[in-house]
Subunit: 267 residues, 2 copies
Amino acid sequence: MSFEISTVNVNGLRAAARKGFVEWLGSTGADAVCLQEVRAEPGQLPAEAGAPAGWHVVLVPSAAKGRSGVAVYSRAEPDAVRTGFGVEEFAGSGRYVEVDLGAVSVGSLYLPSGEVGTERQEEKERFMAAFLPYLVRRRAEVEAAGRELVVCGDWNIAHREADLKNWRANRRSSGFLPEERAWLSRVFEEVGLVDVVRDLHPGVEGPYSWWSYRGRAFDNDAGWRIDYQVATPGLAARAVKARVERAASHDLRWSDHAPVSVVYGAS
Amino acid sequence: MSFEISTVNVNGLRAAARKGFVEWLGSTGADAVCLQEVRAEPGQLPAEAGAPAGWHVVLVPSAAKGRSGVAVYSRAEPDAVRTGFGVEEFAGSGRYVEVDLGAVSVGSLYLPSGEVGTERQEEKERFMAAFLPYLVRRRAEVEAAGRELVVCGDWNIAHREADLKNWRANRRSSGFLPEERAWLSRVFEEVGLVDVVRDLHPGVEGPYSWWSYRGRAFDNDAGWRIDYQVATPGLAARAVKARVERAASHDLRWSDHAPVSVVYGAS
DNA sequence: CTTATAAGG
DNA sequence: CCTTTTAAG
């Protein structure tokens, strides 16, 4: 049986729920949906967003109110849930959760956004340094058990020039720094995980998954591809279809990111 | 010649301007309009609200950004402008301004709102204690010069039971405390200024000028009369008509207060 | 419930 | 530009 996974940074689930997330969730064919930047605790959400009928919800908020927060919504009940990735500094940061759904472990990642020359960029780099060994370990564990892993989410890094519209102007911008791009290359080349959407669509621009709310970024399609599904090779080989659900108009947007969805065929 | 004065707490002029204040200002027949809670500096306002054609604007913001702020809009250019009332603690608080328009001085007052048991209630009481002597002095000065005075604004006190819908439930609420009501009585009885709207309409409930945004206060007309025109007896005797411009529907509200307007006949 | 603010993105 | 928080009302 095939299954579909979607991932989207909702930029505040309370606001997204008012603007169209609930309708999107009702119409998606996905079996699992990974969310980032929920920016709310379960009790702050309306039931149709926080406990929708037909879905199991695992929500890991940040200890800091109104910040970060990741979730996995799944039609099947998860067999297991793991919160965080075992690094003290990022415990309680609401940036990673992983659920087991049959033979696949599905992670929802919200990698910190940075700003060059600030402490937030240093935090982003510490996160990257801490998360890479976790990926190495998880790949080994998962494959030793005959299972697969996909880490979905907002990785806050565009990998190559084809992954953002204005790459020349952004060579010194956080999210496209050489050291960030090199780190992502290590995830793909050293750890051996696969950028599923790029694997299915080599040699195309984008598809972008984030457009700033500032200026005319959305109208000009001045986007970035920073939301990924990063999978073990065995699972990546089963990916048959990928799409980014870019809103048809500004009025239909309910986040500054768009859902990135992948259909995986039967094993 | 008769003239009309309106007073209204706009609860943030930027928000009010988006919701209907500009249209109201364009349709009013008033010669002078006193505003309270402007909550903006002139440069933060769109021209149609901050510098409308046909009006002279005197705006006194608070030193604290986004707080308080009073203004007088007048069709004639003021002959003089006085800011504050000469008490150090409330200098820069954006709570009082007075302009001279011919033989009448028009003040715009935003008396602090309080909350029982808090420092804000103590500040309200210090303001009251400091403002009363100012009124005494100004009445004497104005009348000695053969002029009149009207202090318009949000006094944040309902005087009598007829001045709020739920007076029993609010006997211990800031805005209807015995000491606040007694202070207003002193303004009327000792200082000898006149509550113009009540003088024209004795023995009626209200008319209320403020309805909380919380709950169903507006729909239930659970209002308070806390916005006043308080005038020297000579001017009060010339008042011929008063009204509160309560919005016809929730959708037409552009503030939690409504304009209180008085027509004064020729002297 | 609504207006501001500030920080975050 | 947008969503949060916090303070104020």
